[in-house]
């Protein structure tokens, strides 16, 4: 049990810990509720620690390969397999580790937050088991190197999320939202599975690296590409397929809404991983890149305009989540469109970095905003903005946290949203000025919309005699605020250690393939 051991096994351990914790939670919850809370917090914290170990691992060793059930653990191509990676292989490159860090941080905040916010609900042991399973799904999606395995974790994630959305039955409205979400994600997952089946029939492989290497890009593969990108974009909540997002995010408990953001981003990771690693070598990346850009611009613009007219605080934020997803699609789409050309090094990579940086920033500030919205609903009991007002009198910390989140989402310095948005504006402007201008307008509209929320919820005369929310909810918000301010004041730290390696790893499918098929050494 040495440091090397933990480092080498961290890709598996980071999935195992929440999985074990999830299955043990109902048993522990039978005996003592307090022990269960400690258990949940400890396991989420341990997952967070392992995500940092994972970041350290990919930083020092490059892409890590972990083969389930193999001896030794990194034997991706056994000598008697004929050069085919046969087992389930976890492939962790910088982008995967980056996503794992994002997901586990938000889950830690959401988990701690839920201790107080769901305190009076029944069936809590199931809630936490599902919360941990949802985290397992996200981590599995971002760490796996196997398409079928990706589908399995996608399903784990979808089912756990759908069940959690319906957790507060809310006279059946939440159940309806969850049902919609479950149907949408099942259809998406089945279409994804169909695509995996086609690829398996064609190339006798499920490993992403193996498929990418054997890719001939026939017409069938084009169908697969369409299936993958569309279904995963649907799960990520990009605009023409966004209809489940407002219901799902809006009706989930606060901590879960924050985690749903990262769950969508895990699907977004799928879009990027599939388009770069699996199809990036053979497909016409300009077309695929423009596809993502158009999705992104549509999401940005339609999302924010829909958000402007909402008066339900969580639905409004959900539409903003769609809108912000557009930035990521735009940034990475520009990177994909310029992949392999001279323009890539000029501004394509910077756009990708902006898009990827925006992923973690969005997870943090949108997570924080959902947590504050949950806190408001926890105290006021309604999510209707027209019925709120004057909450700043009683809920000082929540108000401050909301302000930080709102300024960050609008891209105001010194918060983290500014850093990534500036990167996107500057690089995308060189690609196509119009796109950059749209992105800026969207940002202004976002600010306008959050000024409205701030004003109607927190400003004005005292209507409700409310107290501040309990400590654990504040701690949950505090964790996310810490990262918002850290990445806002020192974006270079995030850029050097998190974002730039992730963008480089994503843009280098050959390195990924060589690492997996080269025996993981």
């Amino acid at each position: 049990m040495s440091w090397d051991y933990f480092l080498n096994h961290s890709p598996a351990l980071i999935i195992v810990i929440p999985l074990l914790a999830a299955f043990a939670t109902p048993l522990i919850g039978r005996f003592s509720r307090k022990a269960m809370y400690i258990w949940i917090t400890a396991s989420l914290a341990l997952t967070e620690i392992f995500s940092i170990i994972l970041l350290y691992g990919v930083h020092t060793e490059g892409t890590m390969v972990y083969v389930m059930g193999a001896n030794p653990y990194n034997l991706s191509v056994p000598p008697d397999s004929g050069g085919i990676p046969v087992r389930i292989i976890l492939t962790v490159d910088s982008f995967g580790a980056f996503m794992a860090f994002t997901a586990s941080t938000v889950a830690l905040a959401g988990g701690i937050y839920s201790i107080a916010s769901e305190h009076s609900q029944t069936g809590q042991e199931k809630y936490y088991a599902l919360l941990l399973l949802m985290l397992v799904g996200m981590l599995g999606m971002v760490l796996t190197g196997d398409l079928f395995n990706f589908f399995v974790f996608l399903e784990i994630n979808s089912l756990a999320s759908a069940a959690l959305v319906s957790y507060r039955i809310d006279k059946g409205v939440a159940v309806e939202a969850a049902f919609k979400y479950a149907i949408i994600s099942s259809i998406g997952a089945l279409a994804f599975l169909f695509g995996v089946g086609i690829l398996y029939g064609e190339y006798d492989a499920l490993n992403m690296a193996m498929i990418a290497q054997r890719m001939k890009f026939t017409d069938l593969d084009k169908i697969v590409m369409a299936l993958f990108t569309v279904t995963l974009a649907m799960k990520a909540g990009a605009i023409p397929m966004h209809y489940w997002v407002p219901d799902g995010y809006g009706k989930a408990p606060g901590g879960i809404s924050a985690m749903l953001v990262t769950a969508s981003q895990a699907s977004l990771y799928g879009v990027f991983r599939v388009s770069f690693t699996v199809f990036g070598l053979s497909a016409n990346t300009l077309t695929l890149g423009w596809f993502l850009i158009i999705l992104g611009v549509l999401s940005m613009f339609v999302g924010v305009t829909m958000a402007l007219i909402q008066h339900d605080i969580k639905r409004l934020m959900a539409y903003h989540a769609i809108s912000q997803t557009g930035y990521m699609l735009l940034g990475v789409g520009v990177g994909l469109a310029t992949l392999g050309t001279a323009a890539f090094n000029q501004y394509g990579l910077a756009a990708m970095e902006g898009g990827i940086f925006h992923i973690i920033n969005h997870a943090m500030y949108k997570g924080l905003l959902f947590l504050t919205a949950g806190a408001v609903i926890y105290r006021v009991g309604t999510s209707d903005l027209n019925k709120m007002g004057g909450l700043a009198h009683g809920m000082k910390y929540t108000t401050i946290f909301f302000m930080i989140g709102a300024l960050s989402i609008a891209g105001i310095p010194p918060f983290n949203g500014f850093a990534s948005k500036l990167l996107i504006y500057e690089s995308v402007y060189q690609f196509n000025p119009l796109l950059s201008i749209i992105a800026m307008i969207v940002s202004i509209l976002t600010l306008a919309s959050f000024v409205k929320v701030f004003h109607s919820a927190f400003m004005g005369p005292k209507i409700y005699d409310v107290k501040e929310v309990p400590k654990s909810m504040l701690i949950g918000m505090c964790i996310l605020t810490f990262f918002i301010i850290l990445f806002g004041l020192f974006p270079n730290i995030a850029m050097t250690y998190l974002v730039a390696p992730a963008a480089k790893a994503l843009a280098n499918p050959l390195g990924y393939i060589a690492r997996v098929l080269g025996g993981g050494a």
């Binding site: 195992v16 059930g69 030794p72």
Partner: protein, 154 residues
């Protein structure tokens, strides 16, 4: 249900359970495995629930014990996976070790030895326990709306 159905159901219940556990135990040798066997066992539960009144069954088959079975099955599955973590997660350290399920098999046709395959039968058993619990709970929840049943399952 009528007396004929009830008698038949009580008679068949044992065999359904035995057949289910047979499928679970032979998961590494014959078609089927933990999930399929567990599903067969759950059909046994469905059979008696349909044949008898829901209230009578509720006293015999406790929902809490089924959910406990679910948790224990899942836990033992993941622990079986973790037990190989010395080499790698899910490493089959029991196979060919001479211990439990550790008999080695010579290459070629054989009638199928139960005491082989290492951690696989353990995982099958774990999945079997999990599925009988999970599907059992689902069956109970669905069938408590059967006529004559009590409306409130909890």
């Amino acid at each position: 249900m009528s007396k004929i159905v009830r008698t038949q159901a009580s008679f068949l219940y044992t065999f359904v359970l035995i057949f289910g556990f047979y499928i679970v135990a032979h998961g590494h040798l014959t078609p089927g495995g933990g999930f399929q066997g567990g599903a067969v066992i759950a059909t046994g539960i469905a059979l008696v629930v349909v044949a008898y009144k829901f209230d009578e069954i509720k006293r015999r088959i406790k929902k809490t014990s089924l959910t406990a079975a679910e948790g224990i099955g899942l836990l033992s599955f993941i622990i079986a996976g973790i037990s190989g973590i010395g080499v790698s997660f899910f490493y089959n350290w029991l196979a060919n070790s001479g211990l439990l399920f550790g008999e080695s098999v010579t290459y070629g046709i054989n009638p199928g030895y139960l005491n082989t395959a290492g951690t696989l039968p353990i995982m099958n058993l774990a999945v079997g326990i999990e599925v009988l619990g999970g599907l059992g709970v689902i069956v109970l929840y669905m069938l408590h709306f059967v006529k004559g049943g009590e409306r409130n399952a909890a």
